[in-house]
């Protein structure tokens, strides 16, 4: 109580110190949230690829058509438990380069994975698609639902056609948020329309896919299965979990290291500003410390008092910094959601760490000047102006 009173009676200094910590901690919160988000994106990607092999055609962008018959050929291979042939399309017909994950439309046959997919999607409203669904029906990812302002029962326009929204998904803060799920047949028709007329002429919509997700039998050698697939299907490319980790994981690890580096810098800068302010504030109080020592305040008591104050400043600064960082994260995610770019994920662990760090940093920062102040000769400290 008296600690709080001491702080309250030094309003300007306390305010400035708290402000310094607040900014450091807010930066820490924001950058850590960004690192969290990237981690979970990579983590989800790795999880997505973990139990499957993704087969695309061998072209550089992997968007040329394959045949549904290829899926049947793969299904017949040894070690393959299930196949899920899909059509993956961009929501917009013209490829707009934007930051973050573009909105996509995925056509697939519900249940084709035969229960092998381990990344579950949860409904926010309505229902999932079933194998019986046909036509312009869609289940929207959470970001898309917010962007178009619809829930189950509403309708959206995709590629100039009205789609009935049968369900919307809960937020995952990752790729499914910007994905629209439609029946395979529906996607096949759009896909055919996308192809150059010369190519399209010779094709039939219901035979088209551009991605085949293969679930190997549990415990089988994924590389061997991938090899067999590439041998069977001409011009195909496969991606396994290990390959994903290597290519995508490697790049994101560097990006992640940069973000964490920024967080560490903001941490160090915040930390130094706390130490600096604490040292200044103790220096300002040299005379007061001299008085207290002269009238019988023990060194330990003086240190305890100063460290207590520093810790309290740390807690207050940490809490305000956390709040500020949280507001920034919420606003940025809100803004980002409309363009499909959710960049931040503030986890409880990050929040607790930020406040604990600020408190401990405050105490440590206070301890050093408190220690030296308590060792001052009281007479010399009394003369200090």
């Amino acid at each position: 109580m008296s600690t709080l009173r001491n702080l309250a009676r030094r309003k300007l200094r306390t305010t400035l110190t708290v402000l310094g910590i607040t900014i450091g901690i807010a930066a820490l919160v924001v950058f850590s949230s960004m690192a969290n988000q990237i981690n979970s994106l990579v983590g989800l990607g790795a999880e997505f690829y973990d139990d499957k092999i993704v087969v695309t055609d061998g072209e550089p962008f992997g968007t040329s058509p394959m045949r549904l018959a290829d899926a049947d050929a793969i299904a017949a291979l040894d070690g393959v438990a299930a196949v899920d042939p899909r059509v993956e399309l961009l929501w917009e017909s013209d490829l707009a380069i934007g930051f973050g994950i573009p909105d996509t439309v995925t056509g697939s046959t519900p249940g084709a994975d035969a229960g092998h997919d381990t990344v579950p999607l949860k409904l926010a409203t309505g229902r999932m698609l079933t194998a019986e669904d046909e036509g312009n029906l869609v289940v929207l990812g959470s970001t898309l639902a917010v962007k178009h302002g619809v829930v189950a029962g509403g309708s959206v326009e995709i590629r100039g056609e009205a789609f009935e929204v049968v369900g919307t998904l809960q937020s995952t803060l990752t790729a499914p948020d910007t994905t629209a799920l439609v029946p395979l047949r529906t996607a096949q028709l759009i896909y055919l329309g996308d192809l150059p007329p010369l190519v399209a002429e010779s094709l039939v919509a219901e035979e088209l896919v551009n991605q085949i997700i293969v679930y190997p039998v549990e415990g089988s050698d994924f590389d061997a299965v991938a090899g067999a697939i590439e041998a069977t299907i001409a011009n195909s490319a496969t991606m396994t979990g290990a390959e994903f980790d290597e290519t995508v994981g490697g790049t994101t690890a560097i990006f992640n290291a940069i973000i964490i580096g920024i967080a560490v810098i903001s941490l160090v800068v915040g930390g130094l500003s706390v130490i600096n302010t604490m040292a200044m504030s103790v220096a300002e109080r040299t005379r007061e410390i001299g008085i207290k020592r002269a009238i019988g305040g023990s060194r330990r008591r003086i240190i305890r008092e100063l460290v207590g104050e520093a810790g309290l400043i740390g807690i207050i600064g940490g809490l305000i910094g956390l709040t500020l960082g949280w507001v920034v994260v919420l606003l940025a995610n809100d803004l980002g959601r409309s363009s499909g770019t959710v960049l931040f994920d503030l986890t409880p662990g990050t929040a607790v760490f930020a406040v604990a760090f600020s408190t401990i940093l405050g105490m440590v920062a206070g301890l050093i000047p408190a220690w030296s102040a308590a060792r001052l000769d009281p007479v010399a400290a009394l003369r200090y102006e």
């Binding site: 030094r10 007061e288 019988g296 023990s298 007479v379």
Partner: protein, 237 residues
């Protein structure tokens, strides 16, 4: 009974590697319990330093001369650890300074309470004792005010209450009236006198003011780090 006995008290301050200042050059001093003693002398005569040593704020130098000795209530306190000296200051001594030295962020009551807590009282008892002492110095109506809201005389009375709250064996006052006008000065001096006569408070005060010195039982005069030969001895010889 002797409350304080000091022998061969010396203090040299090293100002730099080459320059050092010999402030006390071997002083013997005795203070009897119940005495009110003034230390007088020109600036730089070593009177404040002597008070700091007698008040256990500083330890006397032990090198370059006969071994110093300082006894407080019969116990040798010459070379005590900082912790033990701090404890003795908190429990047995009260300090009053020329520039009052109240903690600026604390009210008069909180300043006095703090000293009582240092003296070992629990916070509620400390607060009660503080209020009582403040009322003894006539400042109970200003107890909630902070130092900057008090006049010089009021501040010094608050400082006196802080010095007295633990019923110290020894009260040490360094120029207690030095920053006060004559009527405030007389007020504080009257309180000190009353303490001595009513409670038998042993009081040691450093002063420039002959009027203050005149109201004490005995004057120790100092020049250049030494105690002057006492005139009454000269008269007796």
């Amino acid at each position: 009974m002797m409350l304080l006995e000091g022998r061969n008290l010396r203090k040299t301050y090293r100002l730099s590697r080459r320059i050092s200042l010999e402030v006390l050059r071997g002083v013997d001093v005795d203070i009897k319990a119940g005495e009110m003693v003034a230390i007088m002398g020109p600036s730089g005569s070593g009177k404040s330093t002597l008070m700091h040593i007698l008040g256990l704020l500083h330890a006397p130098d032990a090198n370059d001369g006969p071994a110093p000795e300082l006894k407080f209530e019969g116990a040798n306190v010459t070379r005590l650890s900082d912790g033990k000296r701090t404890k003795l200051r908190a429990h047995k001594m009260g300090f009053v300074f020329q520039s009052f030295n109240l903690v600026p962020t604390l009210s008069a009551l909180e300043n006095v309470t703090l000293a009582a807590e240092y003296g070992g009282m629990k916070s509620s008892a400390a607060r009660r004792a503080a209020l009582e002492t403040l009322s003894w110095v006539g400042l109970d109506h200003r107890a909630k005010h902070r130092p900057m809201e008090l006049s010089g005389g009021e501040q010094q009375r608050a400082a006196l209450a802080r010095a007295l709250v633990n019923a110290p064996t020894l009260l040490l006052a360094d120029e207690p009236t030095g920053n006060l006008d004559s009527s405030r000065s007389a007020e504080v001096l009257a309180l000190l006198r009353r303490l001595n006569s009513e409670r038998g408070q042993t009081t040691l005060l450093v002063t420039h003011d002959p009027a203050v010195a005149a109201s004490t039982d005995r004057v120790i005069r100092m020049t250049d780090g030494l105690v002057d030969a006492e005139p009454q001895l000269a008269l007796a010889a």
